[in-house]
């Protein structure tokens, strides 16, 4: 019986797939019952003594040895220790690691990206040829920008623009900078003041330049006050407290909350509401959208933020890219619908004793899910 158990406990080693090298994955099989730990030993080519490298997880039965040198050959030995004895397993052939030139698990992402980009590029070209043929639906929050800035001007109050608390690497922050330019132009035209506090100094520097350009393009470079674009703090709730303080002291007539927000979103929006400001929010943070919808007058929902520049400028190439993205979105919707129908049919067929469709369905799911793992 013990002899059989010794035979059944085994390990295997393989070069970790889809990585940058420097890693070998060791798997343990048929782990003996009552195993307390599995020690892993490694013998490098040319050496005579095995060195201990780590513990194979009993639950996963897997260990990633990330301390290997590419090209060097290794042998592995696993020792499963139970309360009363140890079971040893070895691999017989040398194994080495090497870096991969293509991450195969991301094939589905690459295919989708290529398809997406081709469609968008085609529509950009079509838009250049026929700019009149493009329609973009009304976006009330962007239409209300004029009204908000105008109202603040009439009341003799400033405009407050908060670009979220993410860094410039976030798409929402980039979209926010685009909207800031539009708001800046309006503010300059109406000759009112804009207050722009920041969470990140890099975003602050870009916002200063953006507003400076916006004021220049509106023909009022002298009206731009660089000191109104300032850094507050990089602490989330410190920033929220600072902006709330500005709201209470300066009593802005219009508040723009555009960018990526976290839990401070409602603190800012409710404070803005309490001072009676007209509020236009926009975020790509889906978890914060309900708060903005509840507390603000207008909200740009997720992707609408990214469409803002095209909507305002009506530049054909920008409109074309949005049209292309919409087409891919429609295709995805159809694919999701088809997937649901096919999955349901496969489930029914599987229950009726025909597993073929379910196997195909599982393979498709596996192919798509591999990229996310």
């Amino acid at each position: 019986m013990i002899f059989l158990l010794i035979l059944s406990f085994s390990i295997s080693a393989k070069d970790t797939p889809d990585d940058a090298g420097g890693s070998i994955t060791i798997n343990a099989y048929n782990i003996p019952e009552g195993t307390q730990r599995i020690l892993l030993y490694r013998l490098a080519g040319g050496d005579t003594i095995y060195e201990e490298v780590g513990l194979i997880s009993i639950f996963k039965g897997e260990y990633d040895d990330a301390s290997v040198v590419d090209g060097m050959e290794y042998l592995y030995r696993g020792k499963a220790i139970t309360e009363d004895r140890a079971y040893v397993a070895e691999i017989k052939e040398y194994i080495s690691s090497s870096p991969e030139w293509f991450n195969k698990s991301r094939t589905s992402v690459l295919l989708l990206l290529i398809l997406f980009w081709v469609v968008v590029l085609i529509y950009i070209q079509l838009a250049k040829k026929n700019p009149e043929g493009l329609f973009i639906r009304r976006l009330p929050p962007l239409e209300a920008m004029d009204e908000a800035v105008g109202r603040a001007t009439e009341m003799g109050k400033p405009v407050l623009y908060v670009p979220g608390i993410e860094y410039i690497t976030d798409a929402g922050t980039l979209a926010s900078i685009t909207i800031l330019e539009m708001v800046g132009k309006k503010v300059a035209e109406y000759d009112t003041r804009i207050i722009n506090p920041h969470f990140d100094p890099i975003v602050m520097t870009i916002a200063q330049e953006t507003l400076k350009t916006a004021f220049s393009e509106a023909g009022r470079p002298d009206a731009f006050n660089k000191d109104d674009v300032f850094y507050l703090t990089s602490e989330q709730f410190g920033f929220a407290a600072g902006v709330d303080g500005i709201m209470h002291r300066e009593k802005p007539g219009a508040i723009f909350l555009q960018g990526y927000f976290y839990a401070e979103s409602l603190i800012l929006a409710e404070t803005g509401y309490s001072i009676g400001a007209i509020q236009i929010a926009g975020t790509n943070a889906t978890t914060q959208l309900p708060f903005f919808v509840a507390a603000c007058d207008y909200v740009l929902l997720g992707e609408e933020m990214f469409a803002a520049s095209a909507y305002i400028s009506r530049e054909p190439r920008l409109l074309g890219s949005i049209k292309g993205a919409d087409l891919v979105k429609s295709a995805l919707l159809i694919l999701i619908g088809a997937g649901v129908i096919f999955g349901t049919i496969a489930f029914i067929a599987d229950n009726a004793g025909n597993p073929t469709y379910m196997e195909i369905f599982n393979k498709i799911l596996e192919f798509l899910a591999r990229a996310a793992s």
Binding site: E100, F116, E303
Partner: protein
């Protein structure tokens, strides 16, 4: 030329980063990590610009005796307190965030309670925002009100006592209706971000260059 060079840099950088996502082999695989290190270095320098901006703002507030100028004195007190104990802690220990240092003491006993207080305010703001959002003014708001009541009752033992199926209905609203809507928005956000990235890489979207 002033705009062309940054556009070329954006194109090359964007293209390399996309390529590095699919190629784990060196040097591509490490590029994302490398750029994050570069970003951290640039951030450290821009922090000086940020602090300069903040200090100048508060100096101006005090000089001009603007409304609420005494808050600027509080700012300077906090600023110099952090700076002094930060420097002292760095001299004494390599990590000022180590428990037992003066900096950590200030962080734990002043900053964390202040931040927690701000976060706690959220509960009151949720209540006031919910009150406004759930007023049954039209069909949409009424549906929102009904869903909110079911979800809230389904989350407490009293809801179960009221009707044993309420928790299951609340879960269904959460897991089917809510998740479905969120995923729809999320797909739109993701595709919108990819389209925007393409516009940036190709130089169609240039606002960030100003």
């Amino acid at each position: 030329m002033k705009k062309r060079i940054p556009l070329v840099i954006t194109f090359i950088t964007g293209f390399i980063i996309i390529v590095s996502f699919f190629i784990p082999h060196r040097p591509f695989g490490q590029l994302e990590t490398e750029t994050l290190i570069w970003y951290a270095i640039i951030f450290a320098f821009t922090l000086i610009i940020g602090v300069d901006s903040l200090v100048r703002l508060h100096v101006r507030q005090i000089r001009r005796r603007k409304k609420g100028w005494w808050y600027s004195i509080v700012f300077f007190a906090g600023f110099f307190y952090c700076l002094t104990i930060g420097i002292i802690s760095i001299i004494r220990t390599p990590n000022p965030f180590q428990p037992g240092t003066a900096f950590f003491y200030g962080y734990e006993t002043i900053l964390i309670p202040l931040q927690s207080t701000m976060f706690a305010l959220l509960a009151f703001f949720v209540a006031s925002a919910s009150y406004r959002a759930f007023r049954a003014r039209n069909i949409d708001a009424t549906l929102l009100l009904i869903a909110a009541v079911i979800v809230m009752l389904g989350r407490v033992p009293a809801g179960y006592k009221l009707w044993h199926r309420l928790p299951a209905i609340a879960d269904w609203i959460f897991d089917v209706l809510q998740i479905g809507a969120m995923r729809g928005i999320l797909i739109g956000v993701a595709l919108g971000a990819v389209a925007m990235s393409l516009r940036l890489i190709l130089g169609i979207e240039r606002t960030y260059l100003s």
